[in-house]
């Protein structure tokens, strides 16, 4: 910065140099480019602003081609038309519309530039107006300004792509071959993300990989556990490897908020929503579907949030996540989304709609896929004279397999059993007065001929349903119901004794402190959990024996997660609570194995396992001969526990010895200093604290002495 020069001084200098200040047009003075000669510019903040804008690049500028070529007279008219078209789609910057004119002919050149406030707006307009027919001979060709360079670089001749030699990748499923058959989990606390082995035998976790600031919002395992996905501002990434975690692929998607894998891990859906620059507009939503292995965008969907916000609940405001629901099975063949009066089913071979059109269903509210088969179940509420209905639709034939009409329905929820054998529809119906509702279940047997439906009502049909859950791979389900502060839990089976075609009640447990159900992934065992209001009560229940194995509490627990094998359960207190963040690992029967406390604990996720390759028969055979197989493992367990207690004893002994040694050393010093201490105390000798003794002193105190003369009656004798 130069020193401030006052006008007086300037005048003095100009006088001396013989320059007439009034004759000088100050605006005509130019400094050499790139040098301000130390003179601060008044426009400096203005310049800075410009610089900022330049940082953004030209992403917000569009080039519109194929405009009519008009003479000067019509210039303004054309500009008005273009402005009208493009200002509908976003806010054009002041002076952001520029239509160059040929200096010779004074005619326009047939193209113009439009600058928006944000790249999002520009992108949106490009999509909407590319191919816009102004008239028959003028069809707009719209491009991003940024792309021009890219298009210029396209070589004129096609060159065959270089074929890279095949490099064998790492074995991504290595973790499944762990000798001790342990499972992994990922935890996120503070800025750190850690993947750990659950070493239940040693009663502690073993670190696999730790990385600070691995993700910007959350992590997620792929459904079969092969990859760990992280989310960043620029997009998502997946990680995996034989022994550690390397980045395998990146998926560019700016400001991605949510991700979702297809069940077979072949595709990844990413989602982002962008603030509109015009507050009246709705959020703009961008969805990309990537191929997980190649990283290619298979299809993208863009639009306003409204288009994606129909039906369903949950997820991020406005949009129910996942937007695209995948059909079951490893093939990842179909995915579907719900729209207004339609369900759009896409196939992954072409990433286009099946039969090029959506399924039209008036007023459809909700749908879900069977977890194993390409069958859709959908719910349509009552509308006019039409009763509400639940129907099952086969894909790709779009043939209706079964339909059930329901009357005076207020709401419906669909629960598929994990093998796709059964579908339970929870139906809330209005009572006759329409003032309250009661609940019943419609149970579909999908795998049986003609799909029979059975209606189930609870013993007390006015009971509110708090939770419902199918036994994974099984035929039973559990319901928490009741209006009491302590509701009841009932178990039902889709089979009853010899008759496999009838539902039967197994038992009802009265007055349980539970509001959530967590079945073991292997079935049979279930945790009746009292979350939130019940402060983390846990009851470990065996449904085969109808017996409580253990009751426990993880105070304030917010999450319950079974490991994929059903051997262990994790309960966690995440950072929604301030205190006691961390997690507990329990055995399936409710024995607390270990507990880890972590401040700012965000996430606990078991690494999923792919489905077993064993056939059902083989599995049954193993279950039958469990004793034979388990012998080996029991011996191992015993060895480990022996070793552990041995190690423990050693450690304790060592600690004790160390302590003794230290104390002895001190005692020696203490002894040496005895004289000095005596001196400090003016010769008072006692150092020993035990020098006084407790003596029992009996004190007798006479409280009161009364003399009473008892009359002696002669007559009694």
């Amino acid at each position: 910065m130069s020193e401030v020069v006052s006008m007086e001084e300037i005048r003095a200098i100009s006088d001396r140099l013989g320059v007439d200040l009034t004759q000088i047009d100050l605006d005509s003075i130019h400094l050499p480019p790139g040098d301000d000669l130390g003179i601060p510019s008044d426009d400096e903040d203005l310049l800075e602003e410009d610089a900022l804008e330049e940082d953004q690049g030209f992403g917000n500028i569009l080039v519109v081609d194929n405009l009519p070529v008009v003479p000067k007279e019509k210039y303004e008219k054309l500009e008005g038309v273009i402005r009208k078209i493009y200002s509908q789609l976003g806010v054009i910057k002041e002076g952001g519309l520029y239509m160059p004119v040929d200096p010779e002919t004074q005619k326009t050149l047939g193209y113009c530039f439009i600058e928006y406030n944000t790249p999002q707006e520009a992108e949106l307009s490009k999509e909407k107006t590319h191919g816009y027919k102004l008239d028959r001979s003028h069809i707009f060709a719209v491009n991003m300004f940024e792309d021009i360079e890219k298009f210029l670089k396209v070589p004129d001749e096609w060159a065959p792509p270089e074929i890279k030699p095949y490099v064998p990748g790492e074995m991504l499923l290595k973790w499944l071959t762990d000798e001790k058959a342990r499972d992994q989990y990922v935890i996120r606390s503070g800025g750190d993300t850690e993947v750990l082995w659950n070493d239940a035998r040693q009663m502690k976790p073993e670190l696999v990989y730790k990385r600070p600031y691995w993700t910007e919002s959350f992590v997620q395992w792929s459904p079969m556990g092969t990859y760990l996905a992280t989310v960043h501002r620029q997009g998502a990434a997946i990680w995996g490897g034989a022994t550690t975690f390397n980045r395998l692929m990146r998926y560019a998607h700016p400001q991605v908020k949510l991700i979702d894998f297809s069940p077979g891990e072949r595709y990844l859906v990413t989602y982002s929503s962008h603030e509109p620059s015009n507050p009246r507009d709705t959020h703009r939503v961008v969805l990309n579907i990537f191929d997980v292995r190649t990283g290619k965008v298979m299809r993208d969907f863009k639009g306003s949030a409204d288009e994606f916000a129909v039906g369903g609940t949950g997820g991020v405001t406005g949009v129910s996540w996942p937007v695209f629901r995948w059909s079951g099975g490893k093939e990842d063949k179909y995915f579907a989304r719900i729209g207004k009066n339609v369900i759009s089913v896409y196939e992954t071979e072409t990433f286009s709609l099946i039969d090029k059109k959506s399924i039209k269903v008036e007023n459809v509210m909700d749908f879900s896929w069977s977890p194993t088969d390409p069958i859709l179940s959908l719910f349509v509420p009552e509308c006019g004279n039409q009763p509400a209905r639940v129907s099952l639709v086969q894909i790709p034939s779009k043939e209706e397999l079964r339909q059930k009409n329901l009357f005076s329905v207020s709401d419906c929820k669909m629960y598929w059993q994990s093998n796709g054998d059964y579908l339970a529809v929870k139906v809330d119906r209005y009572t006759k007065t329409k003032k309250s509702t009661y609940t019943g279940f419609e149970l579909f047997r999908i795998k049986e001929r003609d799909i029979p439906i059975e209606v189930l009502e609870l013993d007390n049909k006015n009971d509110k349903i708090i939770a419902f859950a199918w036994e994974p791979k099984g035929h039973r389900f559990a319901v928490i119901h009741g209006d009491n502060p302590r509701p009841d839990v009932s178990f039902y089976s889709m089979r009853s004794g010899t008759n496999t075609g009838r539902v039967s009640k197994l038992t009802t447990l009265k007055g349980k402190q539970a509001n959530a159900l967590y079945w073991s992934p292997g079935g049979r065992f279930i945790i009746l959990a009292g979350m939130k209001g019940f402060n983390g009560q846990l009851e470990f229940f065996d449904v085969d024996e109808l017996d409580t194995m253990a009751s426990a509490e993880h105070f304030m627990a917010t999450d319950v997660e079974w490991d994929p094998t059903g051997r262990y359960v994790a309960t966690a207190v995440t950072s929604v609570h301030e205190m006691e963040n961390g997690f507990n690992i329990w055995s399936f029967n409710g024995k607390l194995l270990y507990r880890i406390l972590k401040d700012h604990f965000f996430q606990f996720l078991w690494r999923p396992r792919p489905p077993s390759f064993l056939s059902k028969e083989k599995e049954e055979e193993i279950a039958k001969n469990l004793k034979k197989y388990s012998k080996k493992y029991e011996a191992e367990d015993q060895d480990v526990s022996l070793l552990l207690s041995e190690q423990d004893r050693e450690k304790r002994k060592k600690l004790k010895e160390e302590w003794e040694a230290w104390i002895n050393e001190w005692k020696q010093l203490h002894e040496e200093e005895k004289m000095e201490r005596e001196k400090l105390r003016d010769g008072e000798a006692s150092d020993e604290e035990e020098e006084y003794q407790a003596k029992e002193v009996e004190v007798e105190e006479i409280l009161k002495v009364d003399e009473e003369v008892i009359p002696f009656e002669e007559s009694q004798q």
Binding site: N535, F555, M556, H577, L655, W659, L680, R681, E684
Partner: protein
């Protein structure tokens, strides 16, 4: 045995101290009036009236004749234990936080808080046998550490002074020259403010409790870290059993957060740890506020805890406790 609930203070407890014989228990609270109790049955014996602010700390002489108290009214007072009369008042320019008699009771160390631009300081006063000869002059004033000094105690043979406070550093000072001899290592030391410090009975080691949810055991001469005890709560008070190798940690969540959660969430327990194995043995519940003060009876058979809730709980330990084996 059922604990004896001693009600007498109207404000949160700050400090507890047994006399050497273990028959008297002195309690300090924010309610201005230190109180003395029978340590056996919890009966109130008397109070020491005269302070005009919260009383933060006290110490009693070896022969149980003198009591010294440090208070937020910017004084430390010397009392006659038996009669409750004030013998002398040391006035400072800032609240007195901690007091401790030396071996032989001829010296006392008093710490003062940072206040109105003054930094915290450690004062050493000579205590005269005859109270009429008592002067307020400091033998030594130590300054330097940032923030409050929560505890300062005498080292072996009165040669050193050990101080700990808000800056999470433990310092050993030369009691003659006032030089810092040792400072605890940042790496292994506490991460947050140290709230309490207690010497072992034989004076060979001491334990510090900190808001970083841990307590640590140190060698009093070399200031080497011997043990580390981790817990789930900020630690406000620590003490050690004179009889068994046990340490007791008291604390709880911050008083300001207490009302926002269930009382169980606060974990206002006195937690027993094995001193050598650093493993948790058990806990004694009862307070419904954080525990601010803990003291073990010199006979090791009972201990007292004082809470933010204003109660002193006197626990006589059952025979079972002495049979614990881990």
């Amino acid at each position: 045995m059922r604990p004896i609930l001693m009600k007498g203070h109207e404000r949160p407890l700050t400090f507890l101290k047994y006399n050497r014989d273990g028959d008297l228990l002195f309690s300090c609270a924010k309610d201005h009036t230190p109180t003395v109790w029978f340590a056996d049955n919890g009966e109130r014996l008397g109070t020491y009236r005269g302070h005009n602010g919260a009383v933060w700390c006290c110490d009693v002489s070896r022969d149980s004749s003198r009591l010294i108290t440090g208070s937020a009214d910017q004084t430390a007072m010397l009392w006659d234990v038996q009669t409750g009369t004030q013998l002398h008042t040391f006035t400072f320019d800032s609240p007195a936080r901690s007091v401790d008699f030396s071996v032989g009771d001829k010296l006392a160390v008093i710490t003062t808080d940072p206040f109105m631009g003054l930094t915290s300081a450690i004062h050493v006063k000579r205590i005269s046998e005859d109270p009429s000869e008592q002067t307020s002059e400091s033998v030594l004033v130590l300054k330097g550490p940032q923030g409050r000094i929560n505890r300062a105690v005498w080292g072996p043979l009165n040669k050193t002074i050990i101080s700990a406070g808000e800056d999470a550093v433990i310092r050993i000072w030369d009691a003659e020259t006032g030089k810092i001899l040792k400072e605890s290592d940042k790496e292994i030391g506490h991460k947050k403010g140290i709230t309490s410090l207690q010497k072992s009975v034989d004076g060979s080691h001491f334990i510090t409790g900190s808001l970083d949810k841990s307590a640590k055991l140190w060698d009093i001469r070399t200031l080497t870290l011997i043990k580390n005890y981790t817990t789930e709560r900020p630690v406000n008070a620590v003490t050690m059993s004179p009889l068994l190798n046990h340490v007791v940690l008291g604390g709880g969540q911050d008083a300001s957060a207490v009302t926002t959660t269930d009382h169980r969430a606060g974990k206002f327990e006195a937690k027993f740890y094995d001193k050598i194995l650093t493993e948790e043995i058990g806990g004694v519940k009862g307070h419904f506020g954080p525990i601010n003060a803990l003291a073990f009876n010199p006979d090791g058979k009972s201990f007292a805890s004082g809470g933010e809730d204003g109660y002193v709980r006197l626990h006589h330990l059952d025979q079972d406790y002495f049979n614990i084996k881990i």
